[in-house]
C-alpha cells in the first residue's frame, strides 16, 4: 500500500512538469478581440496583420471599452503574430477573438493561407466569425465605436445571434468557411464590413470561388440570399400591386429545391419558397380586399428576383447556395462522375422558382 502511494505521488510529481507553461493568469493575457489580415503590397512581407487588443477594466459602461491596435507586416501570418508578441507586455490570447477580417485586396487575390492559419492555431475558436473588411481590414479595426461597453462588442453583437438580427447581415464561422472552401459543390460567402465614419455597415456579401473573391452582392441581393438559405429570418418583402406599395414583414420563410430533368431533358432547379407574414405597409382598406391576387402578385415578383439572383451566381460560376452538393448527394453515380456531370450541367441549368406568399394579417386590429 505504501509503495503504491509513493508510486502515485511520484507519477504526479512528474506530471507537474507536464503542466508546463500553460498556467497564465487571465490578467496576464492580452485578449485579441478582432484580427485583420491585409495585403501589404510589399513583396518581401506580403501580409499586414492588425490585431485589436482589449484593454480591460473592472468597470463596464457605455463608451468605456478601450482597445489598442497593433499592426505589423510579415512574411507569413504566424510569424507576424509571433513578432507582435514582442510589441506587447502580455501574452496574446486569441480565445476571445470572434472576428477575423480579411482585407478586400487580399480576398481578391488569395485567402486560403489566412484560413489555413485560423484553423490550425489552437486558441482560435472555430466559431469565430470571418468577414471582409472594405477598404481594408486595418481601416475597419481602427474604428472605435463610441457606444461600446467593452472592446469589440459592436462587432460581436452584429454577427452574433443575440444582438441585431438584421436580414442583411450574414455571419460565417471559421468552420463553415472551411467547409465551403473544401467541399465540392458549395462555395464560400463572406459578409463585407464597410466603414461608415464611427461605425460599421454590414449589408453586403462577397462571393468566392474556391480561391478568391469573385464579386459582391448589393444589399437587396444579400437579403434575398439570406432569405432563401435560412428559415425564420426576420426580413421584409416588398412589391407593388396595381401601383399600390405593399411591404410584408416575413415571419417565416422556407425554401425547398429539387434538381430534376426538365421536359426537354434539360436539368432544372425547382425551388419552392413559402413565405408567411404580416403586412407592414399597405394601402387603406386592404382588409376588405381579396388577398389572393395580392399574394400571387407579390410571389411572382419575388420569384423573378430570386431567379435573377441565381442567374447571377451562375454567370460568375459560383454556387453559394449549395446546389452542387445537393446534386452530389442525390444523384450518386459512382466515383467522381457525379461531380463532373454537375460541373458540365451548372452553367446551363434552368431555374424554376415558385413562391407561395401567405398574408396572415394586416397588422391592424379591426
Amino acid at each position: 500500500m505504501r509503495r503504491l502511494i509513493s508510486l502515485v505521488l511520484f507519477t504526479l510529481m512528474f506530471g507537474i512538469i507536464l503542466g508546463g507553461c500553460g498556467f497564465k493568469d487571465i490578467d496576464k493575457r492580452f485578449f485579441v478581440v478582432a484580427a485583420g489580415i491585409d495585403e501589404s503590397g510589399n513583396p518581401n512581407k506580403p501580409f499586414r496583420v492588425t490585431l485589436r487588443l482589449a484593454v480591460t477594466s473592472p468597470k463596464i459602461e457605455p463608451g468605456a471599452g478601450k482597445s489598442q491596435i497593433e499592426t505589423i507586416e510579415a512574411k507569413t501570418i504566424a510569424e507576424g503574430v509571433r513578432e507582435l508578441k514582442a510589441y506587447v507586455d502580455k501574452e496574446l490570447d486569441f480565445g476571445h477573438c470572434k472576428i477575423f477580417m480579411l482585407g478586400e485586396k487580399l480576398a481578391r487575390t488569395e485567402m486560403t493561407q489566412a484560413l489555413n492559419w485560423m484553423t490550425r492555431r489552437r486558441d482560435i475558436q472555430m466559431i469565430a466569425n470571418v468577414s471582409i473588411g472594405k477598404p481594408s481590414a486595418e481601416a475597419i479595426l481602427q474604428i472605435q465605436p463610441k457606444t461600446e461597453r467593452y472592446p469589440g462588442n459592436t462587432l460581436f453583437l452584429s454577427f452574433g445571434k443575440e444582438g441585431t438580427d438584421s436580414s442583411y447581415t450574414l455571419s460565417e464561422y471559421v468552420f463553415g468557411l472551411r467547409k465551403r472552401l473544401t467541399e465540392k459543390g458549395i462555395d464560400p460567402v463572406l459578409p463585407i464590413i464597410v466603414s461608415e465614419r464611427d461605425t460599421y455597415r454590414i449589408s453586403q456579401v462577397g462571393l468566392f470561388n474556391k480561391k478568391k473573391l469573385v464579386t459582391t452582392l448589393k444589399p437587396e441581393e444579400t437579403q434575398l440570399y439570406n432569405q432563401i438559405t435560412k428559415t425564420y429570418l426576420k426580413s421584409s418583402l416588398g412589391g407593388n400591386v396595381e401601383d399600390d406599395p405593399y411591404v410584408l414583414t416575413v415571419g417565416k420563410i422556407r425554401s425547398n429545391y429539387n434538381i430534376k430533368n426538365g421536359p426537354q431533358g434539360k436539368p432544372v432547379v425547382q425551388m419552392i419558397i413559402r413565405i408567411n407574414g404580416l403586412l407592414e405597409e399597405a394601402p387603406k382598406m386592404v382588409f376588405e380586399k381579396d388577398w389572393t391576387p395580392i399574394e400571387q402578385e407579390l410571389g411572382r415578383q419575388y420569384s423573378k428576383a430570386v431567379v435573377q439572383l441565381l442567374k447571377k451566381f451562375q454567370r460568375y460560376g459560383v454556387d453559394p447556395v449549395g446546389f452542387g452538393i445537393r446534386y452530389r448527394a442525390t444523384h450518386y453515380s459512382g466515383g467522381d462522375k457525379t461531380w463532373q456531370d454537375w460541373q458540365r450541367m451548372y452553367p446551363n441549368i434552368d431555374f424554376d422558382v415558385q413562391t407561395h406568399v401567405t398574408i396572415e394579417g394586416t397588422g391592424l386590429i379591426k
Partner: protein, 444 residues
C-alpha cells in the same frame, strides 16, 4: 458487606454505607449518593423500614424493583450505576435509585425541520427507547443492550426490525461492536469511528441523527440503529451516499418543490466541490470558457491582484473556513459579530485592497453557502474537504486535472462499502437474483 465494599473502593466521600436495625430486622445498605436520588431511597427503603408495618424482607422479596444480586462481582458495577445495595438476612439486593442529570426532552437543534416532528432524542437511553417504540409499535422490533468502553461502561442499545434486517449486516455490526476496545466512549462520533475501523475514511458511512422519526423510518427500511446512553444522537447504519443527502423535510413537504430542492442540493454539492478549482483552471488556463464580457471584467478586477489565482483562492478559502469554524465555536452572543466582521468587512476590504478580485468574493461565498445546504453535518464536513485536492490538481493540470479529480472521487465513492452495502448505490427497487441477495456486493 460494608467492610468488603469499603476495601473495593478508593476513599470516597460520597460512598454512603449504613447499618440499620428496627424491631426485628438488621440490614446493611450502601450507595453512592452523588449518583442517587435520595428521595427515592428514603421512599423505598428508609420509610418502610422504619415504619415496619410489614416485615421489610417481604417488601424486598415481593417488589420487582429490588433485584437479587448473586455475584459479588456485580456489586461495584451496580453501585457505580446508581443502584443501592441492600444486604438482608444473608441475601443481596440492588435497587435502582439512579439520578441522571440530562437535558429534558427537547426540540431538534441539529436537524431542524419546518413542519416535521420537533422532538429530538434525549441523552437518556430509556427515553430514547420510549420515543422510538412509540413511533415503531411493532412486535418485531428487537432491542439488544450492551455496554461499551472498559472504563466508561456506556450503555448502548441496538435496535432493528427482526424481520426486515439484513442478517449479514447485523452479524457484521455485532462482530465489530465486540471488537471495540476502547476505554472511554462518550459520543456517537467515537462509536462510529471505532465501528468503521478505518480512521482515514473520507465519507461518513453511518448516519448520526437526533430525529426519532428518521430513526424509526430507518428501522422500517431494515436498517440498524445504535442508541447511546449519554448521547442524544443515534447511529443509523448501513447508509448510502444518497441517504446522507436526504433531509426529513423532503418527505414532509410537497412533491415538486422538494424534488427540485433535492436536485439543487446535488447541484450545489457539485458547485462547492468544483467551483474554486474551476475558477483557477478557467482563469489561468482556459479563459475562453467565459463569456467575453465576464472574461474582461475578471481580467480587469484581477489586474490589481499581485498574486496568481490559486494564492487568491487559498487566501479566501482560508478566511471563509476560519470564519465558519469561529462561528461554530463562539458563544451565541458574539457569534453574529464574528460573521459581520469576517464576512462584510474583511470581504469588502480584501477586494478594495487588491488582495482578491471581486469575482473571487462571489466564488468564496457560493462555495460556503452551497456547502451549508448539505443536510448532514458529517457529510458537509467530508464535502468541505473535497475541494482542496481538486484545487491542487487545477493548479497543475487545469480543467483536465479537475475532471480527473472528479473521476477519482466517483471511483472512490463507488468503492466504499457501508457495512457491506455499496455506498454509492442509487435508490430504486432491488431485483434479487437469489436468496439472501440484496443486489449488492458483500464486503468480505
Amino acid at each position: 458487606m460494608i467492610n468488603r465494599i469499603l476495601t473495593m473502593f478508593a476513599e470516597a466521600k460520597d460512598l454512603i454505607t449504613k447499618r440499620l436495625r428496627n424491631d426485628d430486622t438488621y440490614i446493611e445498605i450502601a450507595y453512592i449518593d452523588s449518583l442517587c436520588d435520595e428521595s427515592k431511597i428514603s421512599e423505598a427503603i428508609f420509610v418502610p423500614f422504619s415504619r415496619n408495618q410489614k416485615p421489610f424482607q417481604e417488601i424486598v422479596e415481593f417488589s420487582s424493583e429490588f433485584k437479587p444480586v448473586h455475584e459479588m462481582t456485580e456489586w461495584t458495577s451496580s453501585l457505580l450505576r446508581g443502584y443501592v445495595l441492600v444486604h438482608i438476612n444473608g441475601k443481596y439486593y440492588s435497587y435502582d435509585a439512579s439520578r441522571n442529570i440530562r437535558i429534558e426532552t427537547q426540540t431538534t437543534q441539529v436537524e431542524s425541520s419546518i413542519q416535521g416532528p420537533q422532538l429530538a432524542l434525549t441523552e437518556d437511553l430509556k427515553d430514547g427507547l420510549n420515543l422510538i417504540r412509540n413511533r415503531y409499535p411493532e412486535p418485531s422490533l428487537a432491542v439488544e443492550e450492551r455496554t461499551l468502553g472498559t472504563v466508561s461502561k456506556t450503555r448502548i442499545a441496538i435496535l432493528f426490525d427482526n424481520r426486515k434486517v439484513n442478517s449479514k449486516v447485523l452479524k457484521n455490526v455485532q462482530k465489530k461492536l465486540l471488537e471495540i476496545n476502547s476505554d472511554m466512549l462518550h459520543s456517537a462520533g467515537e462509536v462510529v469511528r471505532e465501528l468503521v475501523g478505518n480512521r482515514k475514511q473520507l465519507f461518513p458511512t453511518t448516519l448520526i441523527s437526533e430525529r426519532p422519526d428518521r430513526i424509526s423510518n430507518s428501522i422500517a427500511q431494515g436498517k440498524i440503529v445504535i442508541l447511546m446512553h449519554g448521547s442524544m444522537f443515534g447511529i443509523i447504519l448501513p447508509v448510502t451516499f444518497f441517504d446522507l443527502m436526504n433531509s426529513m423535510d423532503d418527505q414532509y413537504e410537497g412533491f415538486w418543490m422538494s424534488r427540485t430542492l433535492l436536485i439543487m442540493r446535488y447541484f450545489s454539492v457539485l458547485l462547492t466541490v468544483t467551483l474554486p478549482a474551476m475558477y483557477i483552471s478557467i482563469v489561468s488556463y482556459n479563459p475562453e470558457l467565459f463569456r467575453v464580457q465576464l472574461a474582461f471584467s475578471i481580467a480587469g478586477s484581477r489586474s490589481a491582484v499581485p498574486y496568481p489565482s490559486f494564492i487568491e483562492v487559498l487566501v479566501m478559502l482560508f478566511m471563509i473556513e476560519m470564519l465558519v469554524e469561529a462561528s461554530v465555536r463562539l458563544p451565541r452572543y458574539i457569534g453574529s459579530t464574528g460573521t459581520t466582521v469576517g464576512g462584510l468587512i474583511l470581504g469588502q476590504a480584501a477586494q478594495q485592497a487588491g488582495l482578491v478580485s471581486s469575482i473571487m468574493i462571489i466564488v468564496t461565498s457560493v462555495v460556503a453557502i452551497t456547502n451549508f445546504v448539505i443536510p448532514n453535518n458529517a457529510m458537509a464536513f467530508a464535502i468541505r474537504f473535497l475541494k482542496y485536492p481538486l484545487i491542487l490538481l487545477a493548479v497543475f493540470y487545469g480543467i483536465t486535472g479537475v475532471c480527473i479529480g472528479m473521476f477519482i472521487y466517483f471511483v472512490y465513492l463507488s468503492s466504499i462499502r457501508s457495512f457491506g452495502v455499496p455506498y454509492f448505490r442509487l435508490h430504486g427497487k432491488l431485483t434479487r437474483s437469489a436468496e439472501g441477495d440484496l443486489g449488492q456486493v458483500s464486503s468480505t
